[in-house]
């Protein structure tokens, strides 16, 4: 049985029993079950000298216990047929860069000759179209970053082998940002490759000659062009490989707005995920060239090795504890936990109780702030510890300014306060800073407690809501502050006395400004009159 070989862009045939390309290790043959005739044929079974073929083999699921996982599932080409005006599936002479790569290969199906797939005749006029699906708000809004270089590479390779080839590249912007990349572009121009600044609106085909026409503008010439072509090569967007989303769900790691895996921190922990022991690298994070992919692969491998070699995991004791007496039957905390550290345990008779994995818990306390039963505490940040701390720092005010409690998260919030101090910025001495793991831990009654303890105003200072170190904490705090404001109004307390602020850690100036603003505001409001309490 023979079928067109997908690896060779269907320009050659392969057998139903075939060796995977590019070669896999160990090099073994595979059987394509969609075409194999199995027991109706059995030719391969008879031919194999070592009797290695068993036609009755069935797919099986294998469980492997591992200590660490590196996800390197890569990217793939966007389906160019989505852009209907380019007729990728309708016209055989419209191909993609990946398909062209097989023709450029001297050992490939055409022996390095660039042909029109429709008739196998050499292609003399070749037009490349960049940004097919990339930089397109309708499909993939991002720049796929490597397609300019792929097209430049192919164009120069073809032009050096066939100097008479007429090659044009239609582009929106040529992006050559890597080391030595611009030299490729220079070389391409020197070789006589034509560059047309314009994204073509469509490819049409003359029904009689079969010639393709690329309809574009050259924006620099201010002229509309109809470029004739034997072969049109599309540079499709690079998209996450199939199954990326499903795997992310299984592993419990995040994907970004474009569907790629999200790293823990793009600058400082670029190959780590939010889960310890799971690492990512290469095109699975974003399309990238081979050198950068290799660099990330090294990084992920070293991270995984370091993680495994330690033989132990060092964890902060600051983790959540469930009080089993109060916990009952709701599902808020397992859904809220950004680290999937909370599971529900069956207690029989339709009762469930939450259980925290100390290993997975990162100690943010978002579950504490979420639990409607007050059944969760965070070690070292228990409610009574927080109340005691609050009472302590609010017990004395020797300045004339109104006393303000600034509840800051341990990440951006507290660091912003530090930044303002280090830059010698001034804010009223009556601002008392209290550090909590994440603003997500806060509960509404704690704001009221602060006022009871003597605060004239309360500032909640967290990370930017899309930059929270614990993902959802700052957003949750924002909502709670909004809700608390409504409650304060009910109690006859001016809701302006409570405010949420979200900073990046370097924004010390903004913190100082905010503190000053709050102080002025509270002075205008005058002394807080509490109806409750002693």
């Amino acid at each position: 049985m023979e079928v067109p070989d997908e690896y060779n862009a269907k320009l050659s045939m392969r057998k139903a029993v075939y060796m995977n390309n590019p070669p896999v290790h160990p090099p073994v043959y595979a059987i394509d079950e969609s075409v194999c005739k199995f027991h109706d044929c059995e030719e391969c079974v008879k031919a194999c000298p070592t009797q290695a073929i068993e036609l009755d083999q069935k797919p099986e699921e294998v469980t492997i216990n591992v200590g660490s996982i590196v996800v390197a599932t890569g990217f793939e080409e966007f389906d160019s047929s989505t852009i209907k005006e380019y007729h990728y599936n309708d016209y055989p002479d419209v191909i993609t860069n990946l398909e062209l790569a097989r023709m450029v290969d001297g050992f490939g199906p055409t022996g390095g000759v660039i042909v029109r797939p429709s008739n196998r005749q050499p292609a003399k006029k070749i037009v490349f179209i960049q940004c097919v699906g990339s930089r397109d708000r309708r499909w993939k809004p991002y720049c796929s970053s490597i397609c300019c270089m792929i097209s430049l590479k192919h164009a120069t390779l073809i032009k050096s082998a066939y100097p008479e080839a007429d090659i044009s590249v239609c582009y929106i912007d040529i992006r050559t940002t890597g080391r030595e990349h611009e030299y490729y572009y220079e070389q391409a121009r020197e070789m006589g490759i034509k560059f047309v600044k314009g994204r073509p609106t469509e490819i049409s085909r003359d029904p009689k000659t079969g010639k393709l026409v690329v309809d574009t503008e050259d924006a620099l010439l201010h002229r509309l062009l109809e470029l004739e072509a034997d072969l049109v090569v599309l540079a499709p967007a690079m998209v996450p490989s199939e199954g990326t989303k499903e795997l992310a769900e299984i592993l419990g790691i995040d994907i970004d707005q474009d569907g790629f895996y999200k790293e823990y921190n793009a600058k400082l922990r670029p190959t780590e995920t939010k889960l310890r022991g799971i690492y990512i690298c290469g095109g699975t994070i974003f399309p990238k060239d081979a050198p950068t992919t290799s660099l990330q692969a090294h990084s992920a491998a070293v991270k995984a090795a370091k993680f495994l070699n330690k033989g132990k995991i060092i964890k902060d004791q600051r983790t959540a504890v469930i009080n089993q007496d109060y916990c009952g039957d709701c599902e808020f905390c397992p859904v809220t936990c950004p680290y999937h550290a909370i599971t529900l345990e069956d207690k029989g008779e339709d009762h469930f109780a939450a259980k925290v994995s100390d290993l997975l818990c990162e100690g943010c306390g978002v579950c504490v702030g979420t639990c409607p039963q007050n059944a969760i505490e965070l070690r070292h940040s228990k409610p009574e510890q927080m109340t005691a701390q609050m009472n302590g720092i609010l017990s004395l005010n020797e300045s004339a300014e109104p006393l303000i409690l600034a509840i800051c998260c341990s990440e951006c919030g507290h660091t912003a306060v530090d930044s303002s101090g280090m830059a010698m910025m001034e804010y009223p001495a009556s601002v008392r800073v209290m550090k909590v793991p994440c603003t997500g831990i806060l509960q509404i009654h704690q704001f009221l407690e602060a006022f009871k303890a003597g605060a004239q105003g309360v500032m909640v200072v967290g990370c930017k809501s899309d930059g929270c170190h614990y993902e959802v904490g700052s957003q949750k705090a924002e909502k709670k502050v909004d809700l608390a404001k409504t409650l304060l109004n009910e109690y006859g307390i001016e809701s302006e006395r409570l405010e949420m602020f979200q900073f990046v850690f370097i924004e010390g100036d903004k913190f100082a400004e905010a503190a000053q603003m709050m102080s002025e505001r509270l002075k205008k409001l005058g002394n807080l009159k509490l109806m409750i309490g002693p």
Binding site: K84, E85, S204, P207
Partner: protein, 291 residues
């Protein structure tokens, strides 16, 4: 019985009784009741939108309000009306802020836009509401051997995000409906390109150039006639041929029929009931082929 409020617009009652007659008679034969609502106004197509977009949206919405009051979906024949009204309907349905803004203007007329009704193109009513089966069963004079070049024009399809009639790059609805009548739908170059209809009066030379391109492509395809949806396309291609004859000394002699006319003929309605003399390019040879 299916009922719709019919939105006639301006060009159809002013100049194209052939469109209105064929549509009314066909729909009545297919068991659809059309209700003529009083106090409709201009739909405010692109030329009016060019004067003021906000006013145009308000006027378009006012007309939709009338349909809402009658508790009927609005059926349009003219693609220009379809575009203006469906766009207004969908924009206001999906943009609360805009809706409030427009309702403030509409309050002066005692109306309020709710967004409870649909604006439907004639083709949608045929294909989705009446259904192809029902259509097929009523055909007495199938258009066998008739090669028809479908022409969508612009405003039935685009902007597709708001109109949602069909795939703007590969529309099929008109082709399907032609085949349902027993006719052959012919492919031709640049099928989806504009006929220049809206440039008439602004730049007649340009308008004629675009119409001529269309006629050249259709005539190369060997089609017997063109099926149109829009009165502006009809004018551009029908009267356009007379103008092209005097300007370029070229004779195409391609009959231009609204899809509704082909439908009426296939349903067995007598040609003389359909104001056939509205056509500047005579359609006798098409009628003869069908009868």
């Amino acid at each position: 019985m299916m009922s719709y409020a019919i939105f006639l617009g301006c060009t159809i009652p002013a100049r194209q009784p052939n469109y209105e007659l064929s549509a009314r008679k066909s729909l009545s034969k297919l068991g659809v009741k059309l209700v003529d609502i009083a106090n409709m106004t201009c739909c405010c197509p692109p030329p009016v939108q060019s004067i003021d977009l906000k006013t145009s949206l308000a006027i378009a919405s006012y007309n939709i309000c009338l349909a809402e009051e009658a508790n009927l979906d609005l059926l349009t024949l003219c693609s220009g009306c379809f575009e203006s009204l469906a766009m207004a309907n969908n924009m206001l349905k999906h943009d609360q802020k805009l809706k409030t803004k427009i309702n403030k203007i509409l309050a002066e007329t005692g109306k309020e836009f709710h967004g409870t009704k649909e604006v439907k193109h004639f083709l949608q009513v045929l294909k989705d509401d009446i259904g192809l089966n029902q259509l097929e069963q009523n055909i007495v004079k199938p258009l066998t051997d008739l090669k028809i070049a479908p022409f969508y024009g612009c405003h039935a399809l685009r902007p597709s995000e708001l109109l949602q009639l069909d795939d703007p790059e590969r529309p099929q609805i008109l082709e399907t409906l032609i085949k349902t009548l027993g006719g052959t739908s012919i492919e031709y170059q640049n099928k989806l390109k504009c006929c220049g209809g809206l440039l008439r009066g602004v730049s007649d030379d340009l308008a004629l150039d675009l119409a001529r391109d269309k006629l050249i492509n259709v005539s190369n395809s060997g089609a017997d006639c063109i099926a149109t949806l829009c009165p502006f396309c009809f004018v551009a291609l029908d009267i356009g041929q007379i103008q092209i004859r005097s300007k370029f000394q070229e004779i195409y002699d391609i009959p231009v029929l609204h899809y509704s006319e082909l439908l009426a003929l296939a349903l067995g309605i007598a040609p003389e009931e359909l104001a056939p003399r509205t056509h500047k390019i005579r359609i006798d040879k098409i009628i003869n082929k069908i009868l």
